[in-house]
């Protein structure tokens, strides 16, 4: 044996038998790591978990929804619709969400109302990339129709940056991964190793453990936030002033609020909120490529997909001076062609409501005795479905639809 090969096996001694010192080292290493992690997690156990920060928290809603959809359906006559979208679909009281109102409107509009079940798969901040990763699982349930709300804000850099939840990539069907690699993953902050890693976690059934880990990490963050707040609110003098100052500083970094209307963005905020859509985007935009790919998955499975472009507050965009109508039309056209070219149906509702129909800067809808935006929107969607017989046995062919 040469000197070098002796050196290379010297690590573990002859026959790869670890030395007593090495065993002691690794034992103490593992024990100490375990004690520290357990200790920290036990220390923050009482802080509220924040599962919505994790994709797995999202899946806690989506997976039961898919299961509830059932395949095959409970009765042959049952028409099953999957509703996809973000908080503008879901962020309302129970039974008053957009899917509930569409269901009610469909029951009213049809001469012979079909037996309808709309499964709400919409969730806070769930955009096109997320639904692309989930598309195969949704398609596997073979819904009779997919209604998908997309918004012009989904193409903004901010949306891609902050609301992506890249871990959802873990739920991509394994067979879909090669084609996923052809999409602009880098533009949504996802690397190939993350895609494979998250897939590995899901495929090996470790998603729940991973979620526990992430929830504990979010508790650590929460604990630090609570410590900051406690120091900031402490009635005694001392270091708390630091944190009061930090809170003030955090407020000062909020540059996007409208000076007169707290429920609206200023021009900077709107530019951030809508991003390049305000300058006009084309079908090559990463978000639109994900929309096209997801609609393509549904089309491949023979599922009609109705994509509607969410109403946005154009009046306010105009008021703060960031609306270039021709650029906006270019963006809308790009959305339209992305959907239609992939075999979907497209409804453009981006300009149907005035400023009074919106409650906040994120574009959620106002719904009260005076203005009932959700109902108006739901009726329009239901009307289109009925007029085009999307649920009946004589559904139009793909050529007729387009």
């Amino acid at each position: 044996m040469t000197a070098r090969s002796q050196q290379n096996v010297g690590e573990n001694g002859p026959g790869l038998k670890p030395s007593r010192g090495a065993l002691l080292f690794w034992f103490c290493f593992a024990l100490s790591a375990l004690v520290v992690i357990r200790g920290i997690f036990a220390g923050v156990a009482n802080f509220p978990p924040q599962p919505w920060q994790t994709s797995i928290g999202v899946m806690n809603k989506i997976l039961p929804g898919l299961e509830a959809m059932g395949n095959p359906p409970a009765s042959p006559a049952l028409v099953r619709i999957a509703m996809l979208g973000d908080s503008t679909v879901d962020f309302y009281p129970k039974n008053q969400k957009i899917p509930d109102r569409i269901e009610a409107a469909l029951q009213e509009s049809a001469p012979a109302p079909p037996d309808i079940q709309i499964t709400n798969l919409a969730f806070l901040g769930l955009g096109p990339t997320a639904y692309y990763f989930l598309a195969d699982r949704i398609a596997a349930q073979k819904p009779d129709l997919v209604i998908w709300q997309v918004s012009l804000t989904h193409a903004s850099e901010r949306w891609r940056r902050s609301l992506l939840r890249p871990q959802l990539a873990g739920w991509t069907a394994p067979a879909r991964i090669p084609s996923a690699l052809t999409l602009p993953l880098d533009a949504i902050g996802l690397t190939v190793d993350e895609l494979l890693f998250y897939s590995l976690i899901v495929q090996t059934g470790q998603a729940e453990r991973w979620q526990d880990w992430l929830i504990n990490l979010s508790r650590v963050d929460k604990a630090r936030g609570a410590l900051d707040a406690w120091l900031g609110n402490s009635p005694k003098g001392g270091p708390e002033k630091n944190f009061a100052a930090l809170s003030a500083l955090i407020r000062l970094t909020n540059l996007s609020g409208h000076p007169e209307r707290p429920d609206r963005y200023n021009d900077l905020g709107e530019i951030d909120h809508f991003g390049s859509v305000l300058e006009g985007i084309g079908p090559e935009h990463p978000t639109l490529r994900f929309i096209a790919a997801a609609v393509g998955v549904f089309s491949e499975a023979g599922i009609p997909t109705l994509v509607y472009l969410n109403p946005i507050n154009l009046e306010h965009l105009d008021a703060v001076g960031v609306l270039d109508k021709s650029a906006m039309e270019r963006s809308v056209d790009a959305y339209r062609s992305s959907v239609i070219d992939s075999g979907g149906l497209f409804l453009d509702y981006h300009d149907i409501f005035p400023d009074s129909h919106f409650t906040d800067m994120a574009g959620h809808f106002r719904h009260d005795d005076e203005i009932q935006t959700q109902t108006q929107l739901a009726k329009k969607i239901a009307g289109f479905i009925s007029e085009n017989k999307l649920l009946g046995p004589d559904r139009p062919t793909r050529e007729e639809k387009n």
Partner: protein
């Protein structure tokens, strides 16, 4: 794949275990495969770019070795490598800078290139160039095989952010194969743990938040906040980059290879030239050997020497990124190096012990370095000037950020401790060696450190130097 990500932990575990289990003759090919896989897992398309860069340069090296006119091959290598670097890194800057002129003169208007910067291109380009120049200079006795050359360029622990290797440092190690010893393994684990803790706990958890708040805030009028953010950023970038380097060196040790130091407590420098012998050492040596000296170094009179210094630092600044702010940052360092030399510099002795009489000089150098960092961190030139103005103008309406001041002082003390520990490390190791309680203590401390880093990793971010 970030070094502080769980997927990298899996990749590393698999790579190290398989590497060690393989027969020695298969280890280098395996390592090359693992390195290319590591790069592919980031963005597959750019693997082609890396491979093309390696293949073309290797062909040119072979031509250089056989030709009677090797200079032509060297020029081709430089043009090709810098051409790729320029296209992917500087095209947008070039177009945005020249477009207004072209529009004004010729009514010409064109699109601004929007290319995604290939990971680590600045680092591996310099490594490629360094080896080509060394070969031209006759410092490479025999050309390595293609696979060995490819591994030298793409070695995954240092591929994306250095340290920038020389052929003479690394190729002999590759020829011998990784030498795995218990001492290297133990040292590698320590570097890995300490590097991760530096990055995750210090840079990301304790420093980044305050820095981002102040650098991004507009309308804050409290100079003390700006000073604390200034110091915080100085330590953030140090712990971020040196943390990465420690991890890179640690991983290399686990594979049986030694990588060079990149940092030696830079904020304890007593002069600007000492700073550049302690900060990003492999880059400053590269710039000295392949740019400053070929420009004439200090051999062509004092004026030319100062001009060479300035030009080297300006280009060194530009190497960091396609932004005029980086050029200004390099220019500031160039200026203080020029002033230092013009005022009659003293020879640098890195090992000279520190004394109280060094404190004023260390303080001055540290503050100049900190002020230069503003241009490195700020979004643009105006933001940098605005930040500097706020250091001196305004009222402290918010009170004092005591906690962050405490964190900065803690980092400063840690920096001092690093120096004390580094010089005493061999003695400590020798003292602990062979003692059962020494093994237990090392295991327990390292385990606790890694666990702590993992538990706060939820707030982790990209390595600052990955963008270069």
């Amino acid at each position: 794949m970030l070094f502080n990500s769980p997927q990298f932990a899996l990749f590393l575990l698999a790579a190290v275990c398989l590497y060690r289990a393989l027969p020695v003759r298969l280890r280098n090919p395996f390592l090359l495969g693992a390195s290319l896989l590591f790069y592919t897992l980031w963005l597959p398309a750019y693997l082609l770019l890396l491979v093309a860069d390696i293949a073309v340069n290797y062909a040119l090296l072979r031509g250089m070795a056989r030709s009677s006119r090797p200079k032509l091959y060297l020029i081709a290598s430089i043009v090709f490598t810098l051409g790729l670097l320029g296209t992917f890194k500087y095209a947008a800057l070039l177009v945005t800078t020249t477009l207004p002129v072209l529009e004004g003169l010729f009514a010409f208007s064109g699109p601004i290139p929007d290319l995604f910067l290939p990971l680590g291109i600045s680092f591996y380009s310099f490594q490629i160039l360094g080896f080509s120049i060394d070969t031209y200079r006759g410092k490479t006795r025999t050309l390595p095989s293609f696979s060995r050359y490819a591994l030298f360029i793409s070695f995954f622990p240092q591929l994306v952010a250095g340290p920038i290797l020389r052929g003479s440092q690394f190729l002999p190690q590759l020829a011998r194969g990784g030498e795995i010893t218990p001492e290297r393994t133990r040292r590698g684990l320590w570097l890995l743990g300490v590097g991760l803790a530096k990055k995750v706990i210090l840079a990301d958890y304790l420093l980044a938040g305050f820095v981002d708040l102040v650098f991004d805030a507009r309308g804050v009028e409290s100079p003390v906040f700006y000073w604390v953010a200034l110091y915080s950023f100085a330590f953030q970038i140090y712990y971020d980059f040196s943390g990465y380097t420690d991890m890179a060196r640690g991983i290399a040790l686990l594979l049986g290879f030694e990588l060079p130091f990149n940092f030696l407590e830079p904020y304890l420098s007593r002069s600007p030239s000492e700073f550049w012998r302690r900060w990003h050492i492999t880059l400053s040596r590269w710039l000295a050997d392949y740019l400053y000296i070929p420009l004439g170094g200090n051999r062509r009179g004092s004026v030319r020497t100062l001009a060479n210094l300035m030009l080297t630092m300006l280009l060194g600044g530009l190497w960091h990124g396609a932004s005029w702010n980086f050029v200004i940052w390099g220019g500031i360092h160039g200026l203080i190096l020029v002033l230092h030399r013009a005022l009659g510099r003293r020879p640098v002795d890195l090992d000279a012990p520190l004394g109280l009489r060094d404190v004023p000089r260390i303080g001055v150098v540290f503050h100049v370095v900190c002020l230069a960092w503003v241009f490195f961190r700020a979004e643009d030139f105006d933001s940098a000037l605005n930040f500097i103005r706020h250091l001196f103008v305004g009222e402290n309406t918010f009170g004092l950020p005591w906690i962050q001041i405490g964190i900065v002082l803690f980092c400063a003390l840690l920096h001092l401790a690093e120096r004390a520990l580094r010089t005493r490390l061999p003695a400590i190791r020798a003292y602990l060696a062979g003692k059962a309680w020494g093994e237990a203590l090392q295991g327990a401390v390292l385990g606790a450190l890694l666990a702590l880093a993992l538990a706060v990793s939820g707030v982790g971010g990209d390595f600052i130097y990955f963008q270069f």
